[in-house]
């Protein structure tokens, strides 16, 4: 797509028939997914549909029970070229109380390059560059806990940029971020994708997905849809995926809290996709 000119011929992400279970509960079943360099892919699905687990499998944080997960052609669980992947967690995740500035966070992006050594002038230049790219120069020396959710997420993107990541993996990055900042955040992601950086994100906000991603993967334990965003809008994949969850809840007799959570998300996501524009 927009990553033409990339020399990589093998896909960056390659899941083949991956299944995974926590204890005896299957979370991901027989999922195959291949993402090429330069793609912009969004994974959607109800809460508890295995999206985050899928990310963990892709990143090699979990080993599949069956099938194979490969990252940049290597076995994901043994992948150690960490500088090629940037990971951004949920925005609303409890921010660490740790006193640390934006620049110190972004600096971590260089750690895979310098190992035990000190950052060179070039490393610092990469840090400053990354901070400038996300438009956070004015906040570089601010304590990160004092920033808004949107700014914090931009700092984490900058950390990935500082490490020269070719693949950005984001887990619901805009949860707890106000609407205007979300728009700015997605503009930034678009710009980075235009520069050839591959983007894979989990997103609950369907409007953002349809506005920005080129390809949608709809997941509820299994893949219900995998294709261009326009085709996703015309399909009934979402309804089928959520139907499957309703069945799951009934089967598992889930706790009231988790049922409520699921129901809440379902109603949020269940609005006609086109209607949000």
């Amino acid at each position: 797509m927009s990553g033409e000119g990339s020399p990589t011929s093998s896909p960056l992400i390659d899941l083949d028939g991956v299944s995974f279970a926590y204890a005896a509960t299957p979370v991901v079943e027989d999922v195959s997914l291949s993402v090429d360099s330069g793609e912009y892919v969004a994974v959607v699905g109800p809460n508890g549909s295995g999206k985050s687990t899928l990310l963990r499998l892709i990143l090699g944080l979990e080993e599949p029970d069956a099938g194979s997960a490969r990252l940049f052609g290597e076995r994901a669980a043994g992948f150690d070229a960490g500088e090629r992947v940037g990971y951004v967690a949920q925005g609303a995740r409890d921010a660490s109380s740790m006193p640390i500035t934006v620049r110190e966070v972004v600096k971590m992006g260089r750690f895979p390059h310098v190992g035990f050594g000190r950052l060179s002038a070039d490393d610092w230049a990469a840090v400053d560059d990354a901070i400038a790219t996300v438009g956070m120069e004015a906040f570089a020396d601010r304590r990160i806990t004092k920033l808004s959710g949107g700014q914090r997420q931009r700092a984490f993107i900058a950390r990935a940029l500082a490490s020269d990541a070719e693949l950005l993996v984001l887990d619901e990055p805009t949860v707890g971020v106000d609407a205007e900042s979300v728009a700015a955040f997605y503009d930034l992601l678009d710009a980075l994708n235009d520069r050839g950086i591959t983007v894979l994100l989990i997103e609950h906000d369907l409007g953002a997905v349809t506005d920005h991603a080129e390809r949608v993967v709809c997941l509820n334990r299994e893949v219900y849809f995998d294709g261009p965003t326009e085709a996703f809008l015309d399909s009934d994949a979402l309804a089928r995926a959520f139907g499957a969850t309703a069945g799951l809840v009934a089967d598992a007799g889930g706790s009231p809290a988790s049922e409520g959570e699921r129901a809440g998300t379902a109603s949020g996501l269940g609005t006609p996709p086109g209607g949000e524009d």
Binding site: L59, L61, G82, S97, I100, F111, R143, Q151, S181
Partner: protein, 324 residues
Amino acid sequence: MTNPLLAPLYWLLSAWSWLMFRLAEVTGLGLLDYPFMHRALLVGLCIGVMAPLIGTFLVHRQLALIGDALAHTAFAGVAVGLFLNAVLDFGVSPYLTAVIVAMIAALAIELISEVTDAYNDVSMAIVLSTGFALGTVLISLNAGGLSVSVDQYLFGNLATVAADDAALLLVLFAVIVGTVAVARNQLLYVTFDETAARVAGIRVNWYNRATVVLTAMVVVGAMQIMGVILVAAMLVVPVAAATQISRSFTGALLSSVVLAELAVLLGIGVSYYAEATAGGVIVLVAVGIYLVCVAAGKLREGRAEETEAPELDAMAADREAADD
């Protein structure tokens, strides 16, 4: 204890003592007239560096309790040393056995947490009480054969810092400071964001193991003055104080060391002249410093809100970015 490998350490100790005698002449401070105070001050100064240094990597991961758990297992290690000395006539420093037992316990805690995927306070509490129970049982079994009171291990004592134990502390200090100096990048990454560190290719489990083993070393090193019961405070209180007044990680690390040194020196001085137990005084001073830092932090925050309202500022900047 005539190990030639330790000779440089003893030379270092006597050089330090010489320096302190000179300082006593210049300042006229009575407490510097005694060699045991020289050793106590040296141990105190080392604690002031290594405790907050390691504490920083614990406090920000909600692992403050681990120091306490390890201190209590270190007490079991002390009991093992006393037992070996009394029954088998080993002549080993109880602090040495304490280091070994605490390091084993540290690895056990870490491995349990790796298997169960969580540090949980229940298992930590179990380790804590098991260590202490084991220590008291071993000591009571040998009560007849023991001439040493366990008070010095429980509460610490300025006057009983032996040259051997001071030398052991210097070794621990070098290992701790050296390891943090080498692995500071990785330790910072793992502390701040373990998942991202894992993705970045850092062997998180190894750094976690290193952190708990270093914690065990700090605990035993600091036990000589602080005692089992209060040692964990030095890992936690100066770090918590620095967090209140610092913006950056580097700044917090440096100020936690400065605040810890302040607590140690003031505490030793006050305890010497007031004839109070040093560990307790040091902790009270540290807590006093913490309270001042909390107040200073709040004051500064209030003033910052008055002048620039950072949250609104932040939102305005987001909006600007959105308009671009």
